[in-house]
Amino acid sequence: MSATVETATEIRPFQVEIPEEKIDDLRRRIEATRWPSKELVDDASQGVQLAMLKALADYWATEYDFGRLPERLNALPQYTTEIDGLDIHFIHVESSHEDALPLLITHGWPGSVIEMLEVIGPLTDPTSHGGNAEDAFHVIIPSIPGYGFSSEPTEAGWDSGRIGEAWAELMSRLGYTRYVAQGGDQGAGVTDAMGRQAPDGLIGLHFNFLDAIPKELLTAALTPRIFTHAEREQLGKVVSVFMRGYISEMGEHPQTIGYSLLDSPIGLASWMLDHDADSYGKISRAFLDGEPTGGLTRDAVVDNITLYWLTRTGASTSRIYWETGRAAKASLKDPPPHVKLPVAYTVFPDELFQSPRHWVKHAYHNLIYFNEAEKGGHFAAWEQPEIFSQEMRAAFRSLRNGTS
């Protein structure tokens, strides 16, 4: 029986392999796309524009190099290990520098480990990327259950809290006894949950998106004493995030939209591109004008969509909204403990909304770092890997061994 236990906690090397016939099928489906009529407006106000999506389809089917995805991922050490009944896939790059600080980075939706690939070098190997040896990190980038090469839950209950517990187990299994965690989007929800669980070894958190529990956010945002015009503007942005539709649809009925995301590559691509106006605008300029913004290149965007397609995870990735929606409602009645750990926060100017410092402080009392970066949007690490890396270095400097 002890052999079984060993097998269960085993960490197995992992390589991405994509059968050629799956790529052929994908290409065939893209080319056979049946298109709707053009939107009735000359801007993105009705959603993903036909011309933009046609440009993406054309690039995807005829120019994109399908070998990129496995090459980029297989250049990095990847593993899987079974936690709580699911195979968890993760990238794990150890720094060559002594005393490197282990950093767990969690992606969100519609992202994946692809978002994080360009920060791995600067974080693990700062000396060849303009940084100092003392700023080195060991980097652990897991795929959320139901995303990419992690396996897909077959039962309900995999909300941020359960993912957070799995991440703590992962870090412990890797032998890390003193580490930090970082996240944006759904990754911020997972990182927030870990902060409340405060597992042994976790010493600090960094966020590039505010996703604390609704009770804290509501009281922070609605406290009249500090309800300024600028904050009202941010509140409006928060509401408009919810009014985009994808959050409601995936929060209510992820299975219904899932059929489109599994069966139509273009249905999947459009759904993933319509996350927020800023990132859509940037990606649209990459395809239509040949002007990518930072790391949001055509290839990088298509890498991410291709990953979703080939792993058949359109529906399972959406379910996290259903799970976190339920958890958020439950937390209104039964709030989890406050986060007491040190928290660092970076505001990116093109993020969905720019959290005022006091919103962050309201959720995270022990705020050790707060900075407004000069550029970057929702996909901070993906779009601006250099700025993101610098933020990690600055945010966690005070938590390193030997500094106070």
Binding site: P36, P214, M243, S260, D263
Partner: protein, 408 residues
């Protein structure tokens, strides 16, 4: 030139429904090639259309469904097209053989179409062969909303329910009707209410199976609760009113995802044009009760007339006309509150179906429709009243409009 142009502009042309064989072959191929997700992680509908339901739908669609049905069923009726405000409007028009038949324009909604109405056209226009009296005969006009079925797709903004209501008034005028009634549910109810608010000379009354009755203060509370945290529920409601509030509150907090998506981002739903199964799932997921009934049909137990074939006729027509996305755009055009009072000025009749999104209380209906001539709660039927319960629906229309007939 001007004479020709004017004539061409208001001309009513006969229309024949033809569905290309190649289109149907392609559809069948796509269904067979569906790439499926894994099963939902729950044992109920709470994550949307269940995999078992949609897989059975796809199996039946590809293997047993008769793809000739849409064309043959539609071809049994006289179809016409006429351009209104630059857009080709398709409609079925069946004149009754009975003298003094009352003209009625019946408007479908989303995710419906004229398919919903096919089984009421006979009983309404020809009551004597369907257990009714000649005095209850109707001339029946069933148009396709712009962007739906065989009506043209708007290529610019502006075709909201108000614009459509005005087009319907123009259509009835063009057909020569000087004294008519209007009926609708879902979007059809918004359009019909708007016609009643415009109160053109020929419109003598309306009937709704999804009336707008919610008082403004209640409507405001419901809207505030969409994101899960808002105003507290109202107090002092009667039992009927409380039931109506609870149903609407469920809809506003748990059942509006598709409507918010189509209202704000209709163009993002490319899967509806590219994947038959994506289209089917999206169309099945309108509201919890009708989804239950349709799921039951595919499990071998249809509820009322909502059979597998009927459901697939509607989806197939939407597919072959490639109107999955264009039909959804109506949500983004709309500025009306779905269940709000629309200031209907003409006599109004209401039938309350027990599984409609909400059951309008008589107290609210009396305030919302000052000339309420008929109010009845029927024993069966969901959101798709005419489609699921054609007989009840027909009887309701006969009873509702009896007081508005000439000489009575």
């Amino acid at each position: 030139m001007s004479a020709t142009e004017v004539a061409a502009g208001t001309e009513i042309r006969p229309f024949t429904v033809e569905v290309a064989r190649a289109e149907l072959d392609d559809l069948r191929r796509r269904i067979a090639a569906t790439r499926w997700p894994e099963r939902e992680t729950v044992d109920d509908q709470s994550q949307g259309v269940q995999l078992a339901t949609i897989k059975e739908l796809a199996r039946y669609w590809a293997e047993e469904y008769d793809f000739g049905r849409v064309q043959s069923r539609l071809s049994a009726f006289p179809h016409f097209i006429t351009a209104i405000d630059g857009l080709d409007i398709h409609f079925i028009h069946v004149r009754s053989q009975h003298e003094d038949a009352l003209p009625v324009i019946i408007t479908h909604g989303w995710p419906g179409s004229i398919i919903e109405m096919l089984n009421v056209i006979g009983p309404l226009s020809d009551p004597t062969t369907h257990g009714g009296d000649p005095e209850d005969a109707f001339d029946v006009v069933v148009p396709s909303i712009p962007g739906y079925g065989f009506s043209a797709k708007p290529s610019a903004r502006g075709w909201d329910p108000v614009h459509i209501a005005r087009a319907w008034i123009e259509l009835m005028g063009r057909l020569g009707y000087e004294r008519y009634v209007a009926q609708g549910g879902d979007w059809g109810a918004q359009i019909t209410d708007t016609m009643g608010a415009e109160a053109p000379p020929g419109l003598v009354g309306i009937h709704s199976n999804m009336p707008g009755t919610v008082p403004p203060d209640i409507s405001k509370i419901l809207s505030s609760r969409v994101l899960g945290a808002g105003d507290p529920p109202p107090t002092g409601l009667s039992a009927d009113e409380q039931r109506a509030f609870d149903r609407l509150d469920f809809l506003y907090t748990k059942g509006l995802g598709y409507s918010i998506e189509m209202g704000h981002r209709p163009q993002t739903l490319y899967g509806l044009a590219d994947s038959p199964v994506a289209l089917a799932a999206w169309m099945l997921d309108h509201d919890a009760r009708s989804l239950e009934d349709i799921a039951s049909a595919f499990a071998g137990k249809p509820v009322g007339n909502l059979t597998r074939d009927e459901v697939l006729d509607n989806i197939t027509m939407t597919w072959v006309t490639n109107t999955g996305m264009s039909s959804g755009r109506l949500y983004s055009e709309n500025t009306l509150g779905f269940f709000d009072v629309k200031d209907v000025k003409v006599p109004a009749a209401i039938s309350v179906f027990p599984n409609e999104l909400y059951q309008a209380p008589r107290s609210w209906a009396e305030q919302a429709y000052p000339k309420l001539i008929y109010f009845n709660e029927v024993e069966a039927g969901n959101h798709f009243a005419a489609w699921q319960e054609p007989e009840i629906f027909t009887n309701e229309l006969r009873a509702a409009f009896r007081p508005l007939r000439n000489g009575r």
